[in-house]
Amino acid sequence: MIRFQNITKIYPTHPSGGYPTLALDDISFEIKEKEFVSIAGRSGAGKTTLLKLILAEEEPTKGRVFFRDEDIHKIKKSHLPNLRRKIGVVFQDYKLLPSKTVYENVAYVLEVIGASDLEISQRVPEVLEIVDLADKINNFPAQLSQGERQRATIARAFIHRPDVILADEPTGNLDPYNSAEIVRLLLKINELGTTIILATHNKEIINSLEKRVITLEASRVIRDEEKGRFIL
């Protein structure tokens, strides 16, 4: 489903000085449909860059990334929304729209794909029920706790049943209880058939999952195991 082919990513020198940064170095792997894959590694190992490449937020310096046999970085800018509508994203810093309520944040994605008003009015409350935010439907992100914000982000990420969800350190700002809750939700979504790519440096989470783990170290893949553990 998603294939990285000899990907190297070097961030160029900042205009005000400094040196170029090597984020990924000749990386190749493939992720299959309905898989739950964790990308493990220390901060700065290249996990976020990897997810950004799938979302076409960044372009590789060398190599190609395929999404269902389509080279992501050959897609025209005007067609990028079509790719992104097949991907749900959970960010560490939530990235909820601050001027929209929880309901509107989640509904926005459905509006973007052109769902009908009826469909929106039925599905949004359902999904918010699943993430246990039914009573916060009209709250703004600033009125939510960290855990609630992350659950709202998850609701937004899978409301439109995307093919894949990218979760970038989704538990980074959460306590153990909320972290477990988020992981439980991601597992549940995966059971429904959505591919999950979880980038994290949380050892306990990765070890508890007993799913495939790709470990990054110094911009390279050092381990790729079917039922992996966090070993660095």
Binding site: L55, K77, S78, R84, L97, S99, K100, Y108, V112, R156
Partner: protein, 303 residues
């Protein structure tokens, strides 16, 4: 399409209401720009009115010798009135000239006594000519000097005595016009820049939201739409407020201005030009709102 438009409109109104501080700031800046353009329009109308009033006061008179047959004078009048440079020609016969003099100086006993003393009518028949523009008097004077009836004309034509005044008036009106246009362009440019920058800052504040929208798969137009309509809403409110302020100005200032400009009624001016003004204001406000948003958003939509 209809659903998309409905969603964009709804989102615009919600954003406008929820970011009311920012929306009010945008309205205020647009209000200043639109007001400036409105007052420049008013200033231009008043200055044009003043120029027209001044120009209307300028004319030249061509006096005909005492022995000139009246049909020759009427022929001259006819020829002059056919010229494109001529706005108005008035024939004043010897008798009419005498009447006018008497009317004007009837209280001056000395002058009246002198006129009585002379006995016969000392006034000459004349043609009073008004040109379309002050600079055309020279052409008219040349035409009269080389015309078929030049021998009947009492030389020199009084244009040459009035020439310095006419020229001065011509240069004053030209300076007022040019300065008015120049100042207007500079002020309009400045106000456009201020409005553009305010909207740019408002969008800069929302760049993170634009970025998120792009990442969740929104197309550029789905993102732009609400911002553009917010510009339209701000432009619309700014126009309404400006029209109201302008109406109050005309209503309050009208009677006072009439003391200086007796034939210029500001209230009539307001109602006669209401639709033009409203259109100019609305177009300015909306175009400014839309274009500023479009340009300001460009860089944030590149993700």
């Amino acid at each position: 399409m209809f659903t998309l438009l409905k969603r964009i409109l709804k989102a615009s109104w919600l954003n406008f209401r929820r970011n009311i501080g920012l929306s009010l700031a945008t309205i205020f800046i647009l209000l200043i720009t639109i007001s400036l353009i409105t007052y420049l329009f008013l200033f231009r109308q008043i200055s044009q009115f003043l120029i027209a009033e001044l120009e209307a006061k300028v004319d030249i008179s061509v006096y005909f010798r005492e022995d000139s047959p009246e049909e020759e004078i009427l022929k001259a009048e006819d020829e002059l009135s056919k010229m494109s440079e001529v706005k108005e020609v008035e024939y004043i016969s010897q008798e009419m000239a005498r009447e006018k003099f008497i009317q004007k100086h009837k209280d001056n006993l000395l002058l009246m006594a002198s006129l009585e003393e002379i006995g016969e009518n000392p006034f000459l028949a004349s043609l009073n000519i008004k040109a379309q523009k002050p600079e055309q008097y020279e052409t008219l004077a040349n035409f009269l000097e080389n015309s078929d009836f030049k021998n009947y004309i009492e030389q020199p034509i009084d244009y040459y005595q009035r020439k310095p005044i006419i020229n001065k008036l011509s240069s004053i009106t030209s300076v007022i016009n040019k300065a008015g246009i120049g100042i207007s362009i500079i002020l309009i440019l400045l106000s456009f820049l201020v409005a553009f920058n305010t909207i740019r800052l408002a969008i800069f504040n929302q760049r993170e939201e634009i970025f998120i929208m792009r990442l969740v798969g929104a197309s550029n137009w789905f993102i732009r739409g609400p911002f553009l309509f917010q510009g339209v809403i701000a432009g619309f409110f700014a126009t309404l407020i400006t029209i109201l302020i302008f109406f109050l100005t005309c209503w309050g200032l009208g009677p006072k201005l009439e003391i200086f400009l007796p034939n210029f009624n500001l209230q009539d001016f307001f109602f006669q030009n209401l639709w033009i003004l409203f259109s100019i204001q609305l177009l300015t406000g909306m175009i400014l709102g839309i274009f500023s948003s479009l340009i300001a958003m460009r860089r944030y939509l590149k993700v």
